[in-house]
C-alpha cells in the first residue's frame, strides 16, 4: 500500500478531500462576510444563522412544499437573501450612522433570535436532508473512494466563489462595490445610489450564506445551532486572510480546510484548534491578515 509520511494514501487523500470540502464552506462564508464588511463595515454575526436558515429553508421546503434539492439551490438563496434585504432596509440602516459595534450587536441578537425560535419548534438534535439521488454513491479513483456529493459540493462552492470574484473584480457593478468600499460618500457625489448598493450587497452576502446552507444540508445534520459553531471558525479564517481581498478570502478558506484535514491525519488531537493556532501566528507576524492591506 502506498504510504505518505507513514499514512496510507487512501486515508491521506480522504482527509484531504474532507478538508477541501470544509474549506469550500469556509471560503463561501468568509467571502460573504468580507463583502458585507467591506461596504457596511459591519461584522455580520448573523452570518452563521443565515447559513443555518438556508439549510432549514431547504429542509422545510422539501418537507412541506415538495421543493427538490436543485430548485432549493436556486430559490433558497433568493428567499433568504430577500429576507436579508429586509433586515438591512428596516433594521441595519437605522443604526448605520452609529458606531459599527452596534451593527455587530444587532446582528448577534438577530442570530440568537433566529436560533432560539427554531430550537423552540424543532429542537437541537437536527434532521437529515436526503442527498439527491443523482449525487448518491461515489467514484472509486483507485487510490481512494470519493463520495459524489462531496465532489459536487467542492465544484459548486468553487464555481460560486469564482462567480462572486468575477462579479466584484470584473464588472461595473463590482467596480461600484469596490469604490463604495473605499469612499461611499464620493460615490454618492457621482450619482450612485449608495443606500441601494448597501442593501443589495447585504442581500447578496446573506444569499451566499444561504447557498452554503443548502449545499451543507445533505452533509451535516440540519439543526438550529449548525451555524454558530461554524461561524467561529469562519471568523478565524477571515482574520487569517484579512478583509482586503476577495481572492484572499477564497484561498484562505480552502487552505484552512486543507490544514485542518491534514491535522486530522497527523495529529488528530489538534484538528479542532489548528486554525486558531494559525490565527495567533498570523496576528503576531502580520496583524492585517495574509491578504489584508496595510492601513
Amino acid at each position: 500500500m502506498t504510504m505518505i509520511f507513514g499514512v496510507p494514501l487512501a486515508v491521506f487523500m480522504g482527509q484531504l478531500t474532507l478538508g477541501l470540502v470544509n474549506g469550500a464552506f469556509y471560503a463561501l462564508l468568509s467571502l460573504g462576510l468580507a463583502v458585507i464588511f467591506g461596504l457596511l463595515k459591519i461584522v455580520n454575526f448573523a452570518h452563521g444563522a443565515q447559513y443555518m436558515l438556508g439549510a432549514f429553508a431547504a429542509l422545510l421546503g422539501f418537507r412541506y412544499l415538495g421543493i427538490n434539492y436543485w430548485l432549493a439551490l436556486l430559490l433558497v438563496p433568493l428567499v433568504v437573501g430577500a429576507f436579508g434585504v429586509l433586515l438591512e432596509r428596516f433594521l441595519l440602516r437605522r443604526i448605520a450612522h452609529l458606531d459599527h459595534l452596534y451593527g455587530l450587536l444587532l446582528t448577534f441578537g438577530l442570530a440568537l433570535i433566529f436560533e432560539g425560535t427554531l430550537v423552540n419548534f424543532f429542537g437541537v438534535s437536527g434532521a437529515r436532508y436526503a442527498t439527491p439521488e443523482i449525487l448518491q454513491g461515489g467514484l472509486n479513483l483507485g487510490f481512494m473512494f470519493l463520495p459524489t456529493y462531496r465532489a459536487w459540493v467542492l465544484v459548486a462552492a468553487l464555481a460560486m466563489c469564482l462567480f462572486t470574484w468575477f462579479m466584484i473584480e470584473r464588472t461595473r457593478l463590482g467596480a461600484y462595490l469596490r469604490a463604495g468600499t473605499e469612499n461611499s460618500q464620493l460615490m454618492q457625489a457621482f450619482g450612485v445610489n449608495v443606500p441601494l448598493l448597501i442593501t443589495l450587497t447585504y442581500g447578496f452576502g446573506v444569499a451566499l450564506a444561504a447557498f452554503a446552507g443548502v449545499l451543507a444540508a445533505p452533509l451535516y445534520p440540519v439543526s438550529p445551532t449548525m451555524g454558530s459553531s461554524l461561524l467561529i471558525v469562519v471568523f478565524a479564517v477571515v482574520v487569517i486572510g484579512g478583509m482586503g481581498s476577495i481572492l484572499g478570502a477564497i484561498i484562505t478558506g480552502l487552505a484552512m480546510g486543507i490544514i485542518e484535514g491534514l491535522t486530522k491525519v497527523y495529529y488528530p488531537e489538534a484538528s479542532n484548534t489548528v486554525i486558531f493556532f494559525v490565527m495567533i501566528v498570523v496576528l503576531m507576524l502580520r496583524p492585517v491578515g495574509l491578504f489584508g492591506k496595510e492601513a
Binding site: E182, L186, A189, F190
Partner: protein, 247 residues
Amino acid sequence: MMTAEAQAPIENMQNLEMLRVQDLHAFYGESHILHGVNFDVKRGELVTLLGRNGAGRSTTLKSIMNMVGRRTGSIVINGNETLTMKPHHIPRLGVGYCPEERGIFASLDVHENLLLPPTVRSGGMSLDEIYAMFPNLYERRRSQGTRLSGGEQQMLAMARILRTGARMLLLDEITEGLAPVIVQKLAEVLVQLKERGMTIVLVEQNFRFAAPLADRHFVMDHGQIVEEISAAQLPSRREHLNSMLGV
C-alpha cells in the same frame, strides 16, 4: 399685452443662471461652518471661490453636493431647488464634483476609475476625446489608480467627470501641490472646457492660476462671501485682494 414680451427676458435670465446659492448655512455636527453664503453662477461662466484656509470654500462645494451634515437656505441648480434632494440625485442635474483629496480609488485601475461615475446626461465627452485631452492617462490605463503621480491623479479626477455629461463642474483645489508644468496643462484644459460651454466653480489657492481664467471672483471669509470682483475690476483691486488673501 405685456405677457409674452415681458416674460421673455425673465425666462432668459433664468436660463442663463446655472447656480444660485442664497443664505446658505452649513453645519458639521455642532459646528456652524457657513454663515449665509450668497452667490450665483451664470451658464458658461467660470467663477472662483477665493479665501484663506478655513474660510468655507470647500464646505460650500460640499454643501452644494449635499455632503455636509446639515444645510439651510437655498441652492438652486439649473432651476431646481436642491436643498431637500438626496445626495445621489444632485449629480443627475448635470453637476460634476472633483474633491480636494482627488478621491482616486486604489482598488480600481485608471480605466475603471475613468468609467466609474455613471453617465448623468447625454453629451459628455467620449473616451477617445478624454484620452486625447489626457494622453498620459491612456498610456497608464491599466495601472492601479493610486500608482499615478499627483499630477496624473488630478488629471484622472478631472477626466472622469467629463465623461458623465455634467454641465457644471465644481473643482476643489485642483492645482494644489502640483508642478508648474502640470498647472499650466490644467489651465489649458479649463480653457478648452469653457469653450465647450461648461460652467465651472473653482476653489483655488493659486490666485495666479485662477486670475486669467475666471469671469468673476468671490472672496470668502468666516463662512461668508465678503466680496465679488469681476475680471474687469481685477487689475485695480489686485493689491487689495492680495492683502485679503494674505498672499
